[in-house]
Amino acid sequence: MTVAPERDEQELLAQFESTIGHHDRIEPRDWMPDGYRRTVVRQVAQHAHSEIIGMQPEGNWITRAPSLRRKATLLAKVQDEAGHGLYLYSACETLGVSRNELTEMLINGKQKYSSIFNYPTLSYADVGVIGWLVDGAAICNQVPLCRTSYGPYGRAMIRVCKEESFHQRQGYELLATMMRGTDEQRAMVQESVDRFWWPALMMFGPPDDDSPNTAQSMAWGIKRNTNDDLRQRMVDMTVPQANALGVTLPDPDLRWNEEREAHDFGQPDWDEFKDVISGNGPCNAQRIEHRRRAWEDGAWVREAATAFAARSAGVADQ
């Protein structure tokens, strides 16, 4: 980074803030404050990692999917997650951090991913519930991010959101089908909802009064809504869907509030959230060990590709 004289920096900052103020996009070659850059990298990387780690809980059921149609749907979905990871890593690379560096930071625990993927998938209903609730929550989170201030991130999100909402409908449809099936299948769906409801609500992050970075992120236009605001949207969106499915959301405090024209609902167990975020969820170690092994086992292939490309380039040069 070149060191600009003080005056210039002031001017650049003014221009940056004007762009933000007009809800225009910041592009990779634009000047941006270091804090902004760091925040975008952190958020986009975390998002990318979530896509990649998120392949595991659902991928766990690909080889056991109970119908060929569902197997194809699931495999395609997990593949889409790899794709999302790919363009989010690319968005991150526009800020000068390579995919390899990001992967190393994931594996070494220096960067995080969504807490939800640290819960195990224990039945095929979990595939549906992840589609319905987890992708549902992701959409609530991400739709506003299509208007995020950093250009490459926003454009990646537009593509991601389109696919996520497809996945969300697929998940819901699987559950609706299972609910028309046997008693065992219905019980399986309910049991899965019982396990995933609270972790899905945790996906929006801690309550606003406990979320130190939200204000700055919103000021920079990186985030567009507060955690609690998004959580409320999620609940309001999900309740009628749960009724249509015929499942019970495991929250005794959940009820419509006429006055607010929104649902009142209970609070997730924020101690559990902190545990999971700090590495002590039911699957954190397993997810990272899996990722690390894939990465290490694949090293020789990546090296071979690099060596081959170098050799080919050498031949082409002659």
Binding site: I52, M55, Q56, G59, W61, I62, T63, R64, A65, P66, S67, L68, R69, R70, K71, A72, L75, A76, V78, Q79, A82, G83, G85, L86, Y89, R99, Y124, L174, T177, M178, R180, G181, T182, E184, Q185, H290, R291, R293, A294, D297, G298, A299, W300, V301, R302, E303, A304, A305, A307, F308, R311
Partner: protein, 263 residues
């Protein structure tokens, strides 16, 4: 009907089992691009499987396993999830464990080159369904073959380690290569009827194509004897390696736990 159905099961089972093995790479590939590419190949093969199983069931409904009365399981799933390993008619090449990425690519190269050659001929099948499946499949498998060939070359010409691994991988699967070109009575009969393809007819072509990849890669064709069958029976006769029943135990477990389930 029965020969056609059996023939469709052969082609379907090849695709289904190969798809299963490739899907096991999911979230474990050397890089995201390969994760996506392997899933693509697995998905294409799964698509072929479904069309072929449906064709088998239509050609001869008696091949579909009986399920409890009122079971909503469609024929394609009854065939995929409720046959035992001895009823699977895939070649043994597809059921072997994946091994490392080198072995996986060596197998995919051989498999896709072979299946593409079959499907190019199958495109002119007198059976309109098979013909349509083949026309679609040719496009897909051209990509599969090129993908595998590109990696085969890359690994063979990459580092010492990658060369060793891909050559070991090719050697390990080569004993299962011969079986691809043995024509069973059923295949001959559907070939005679202008409906199917007798695999021995593509042997020379596949040989030439593989030789091109090997020579470009500077890899010698392995000298490994064909893997023996048992009493003359191999994959096409439902006689498999020990790997298949384990693969199916996993693949079929949820479906079988819910024989009257709706998915």
């Amino acid at each position: 009907g029965h020969d056609l159905a059996t023939y469709c099961l052969m082609l379907a089972d090849d695709a289904l089992v190969m798809s299963h093995r490739l899907s096991q790479w999911c979230s474990k590939a050397p890089d995201l691009e390969e994760d996506i590419a392997l899933a693509n190949v697995a998905l294409d093969l799964l698509g072929q499987t479904r069309l072929l199983l449906a064709r088998a069931a239509a050609a001869d409904p008696s091949v579909v396993p009986a399920l409890p009365e009122g079971s909503p399981v469609p024929p394609e799933d009854a065939l995929a999830f409720f046959r035992g390993d001895r009823e699977f008619l895939n070649v043994r090449l597809v059921e072997a464990e994946n091994g490392d990425f080198g072995r996986t690519m060596a197998r995919l190269l051989v498999f896709a080159t072979w299946r593409l050659a079959l499907f190019e001929r199958l495109a002119s099948s007198r059976d309109r369904v098979l013909s349509a499946v083949a026309v679609k499949g040719v496009k897909e498998m051209t990509y599969h073959r090129d993908y595998a060939a590109r990696w085969f070359l890359t690994l063979a010409q990459g580092t010492d380690e990658s060369r060793r691994r891909v050559v070991d991988g090719l050697t390990a699967i080569w004993s299962l290569h011969h079986e691809l070109f043995v024509t069973t009575d059923v295949e001959q009969s559907v070939a005679d009827a202008g409906v199917g393809v007798a695999p021995h007819q593509v042997a020379d072509e596949v040989d030439v194509l593989l030789e091109q990849v090997f020579s470009l890669s500077g890899v010698e064709r392995p000298t490994v004897s064909p893997l023996a069958g048992v009493r003359g029976r191999t994959g096409r006769h439902g006689l498999h390696t020990e790997a298949l029943s384990k693969l199916l135990a996993e693949m079929q477990v949820v479906a079988r736990a819910h024989p009257t389930g709706t998915w």
